[in-house]
């Protein structure tokens, strides 16, 4: 006697967002990326269509990273002080489907670089790789309002993903997005109500809902990971239930958050029971990504190439439609 899996009838599906523009579309990308579109909860292929697998972007900083453990910097030997070379290695050697360029040097507490440098590094990275680009600010509101418009302009026509718009600071970046034809990351501090509100504020400025990707300030294990997961789950349920202001694809920042934990980078010499850090670090990052995949994340921003490889295998496995 067969068993019939009970299926849910969802009212709606997640939005689909395409990133990157080829020459036919007015850009210079050699590939584009499409995320979203799921008509059911993560990986329940027996219940609905999941047209696009989650995608992995690797993060590149526009300056040499400070305080990276040996495990993390080793695979990038020789390129960490050159964003173009770093991006090239991620795209060509490690198979990154997108590059997330973080304009970290612009932060006032860092090198305090300005809009011209931002525009320059954006152009250089665009020239070094063919994959679509995420351009992420330094995280300081006033400074981002200075550099993001110039960075956006430097990438005009490439259909990039710009980050981020927050409830208290969204107007400048939304205007840049509209002017230069990009897509936008809307950010909230692990708060579903604020996420919805930012989406409303941004769409009221004339940016269509279909041009938005959502980001809840994701934390690793011990830093709010399970809270971020449950918010992703609630958000995805609202999208499937028809809430158009929560129907956008979701992004998670895995690399920086996972590697914050001492469990990810603590040397075995100091923590013998934890095993070799060479395997532990990438595994920690991969498991963090896995958690967010099950919450409905469509776009992962990652650091370690070994973690990327592991997660790619997971995604391939989860996207297999097994007969039930």
């Amino acid at each position: 006697m067969g068993f019939e899996i009970p299926v849910e009838k969802w009212a709606s599906a997640v939005n689909t967002v395409t990133l990157g523009a080829t020459s036919a579309e007015g850009g210079t990308r050699t590939s584009t990326v499409t995320i979203g579109g799921a008509a059911t909860l993560p990986f329940l292929h027996f219940e609905g269509e999941i047209p696009h697998p989650p995608v992995i972007a690797m993060e590149v900083l526009d300056m040499e990273p400070q305080g990276w453990p040996e495990v993390l910097s080793a695979p990038f030997a020789g390129v960490l002080n050159d964003p173009s070379a770093w991006a090239k290695k991620c795209a060509e050697e490690f198979g990154a489907e997108m590059i997330c360029l973080r304009l970290a040097s612009a932060h006032p507490d860092s090198l305090n670089t300005g809009p011209e440098e931002a525009a320059k590094v954006v152009k250089k990275v665009l020239g070094a790789v063919g994959v679509p680009l995420i351009i992420w600010g330094c995280g300081q509101a006033d400074k981002d309002n200075e550099i993001m418009p110039r960075a956006s302009e430097a990438a005009q026509g490439e259909n990039c993903l710009l980050g981020t718009a927050t409830q208290d600071n969204y107007k400048t970046i939304t205007a840049a997005c509209l002017a230069d034809g990009h897509k936008l990351i809307t950010e909230a501090p692990i708060d579903i109500n604020i996420q919805k509100q930012v989406n409303i504020l941004v769409t009221e400025m004339g940016l269509e809902a279909g041009r938005i990707v959502m980001f809840q300030a994701t934390g690793g294990l011990g830093y709010g990971m399970e809270y971020a997961y449950s918010i992703m789950e609630r958000t995805r349920l609202a999208a499937l239930g028809g809430d158009k202001m929560l129907s956008m694809p979701m992004l998670a920042v895995v690399g920086p958050e996972a590697w914050k934990a001492k469990e990810a980078k603590g040397p075995q010499a100091e923590f013998p029971e934890w095993g070799p850090e060479k395997e532990r670090g990438p595994l920690w990052e991969a498991m963090t990504a896995n958690c967010f995949l099950h919450g409905g994340t469509d776009l992962l921003v990652m650091w370690h190439p070994k973690a990327v490889e592991l997660v790619r295998g997971t995604i391939t496995g989860l996207m297999r439609k097994v007969a039930v």
């Binding site: 919805k196 409303i200 028809g242």
Partner: protein, 265 residues
Amino acid sequence: MYVIGERINGMFKEVRAAIQERNEQVIQNLAKAQLQAGANALDVNVGPAAAEPLEAMVWLVKTIRAVSRAPLAIDTTRAEVMEAGLAEAGPGSIINSTSGQQERLALFLPLAQKYEASVIGLTIDEKGIPRDGAGRTEIALRIVAAAAEHGLEMERLYLDPVILPVNVTQPTPGHVLSALREVRLLSDPPPKTVLGLSNISQGTTQRSLINRTYLVMAIAAGLDAAIMDPLDEELMNAGITAELLLNKQVYCDGYLKAYRSSVLR
């Protein structure tokens, strides 16, 4: 909350005149305004004084269809007018309504299958309107059984426990609330429920206040849909807020705006 806009009804002076003069503009403006305000579907009623009800119904539906593909609730007691309206409106329409009497069910349930329509079933029978909640639930059960016999899924059945004006019968609002609660237990999946909301305030002076207060109470008792006035902004806001408080919408500071821009049809 499934909102069926009630304004295109020949009992309203403006609509009666528009039907008589075949004034498309008036009808189309009402259709667009109601949908803009958040209605999911539109009720279409030629009114009691229409000279040729069948022709009037077809004209109303055609006129609305010229500007909208939203689901239409064909509101008439006459089977031939119902069928003409359903044929013109297309699949996904709502039969408003049948009662619990066997002959009426036998007449209207087959139309639901033929035209791929949903059905509103009033909990009235040969004996009239039931005295209390239990009486309404009993008729509801009969309608559910008849629907099942005709192959109509519960998702396409709306039971209406018949609300009456509060200044005519004050116990009735309470009876209707208990019927709303009990009807959900009749089957799995349960049938849906609907109310002709404005009835409750008929003949009173505080129509708006009474309507929106009862809408909130009914939603808390499990009401799925209402034939109501979407142009009454406070009424819509009360309904949206009631759903928010039952965790059916995610809160955000602009939740009223968010709901209206999110209406699914």
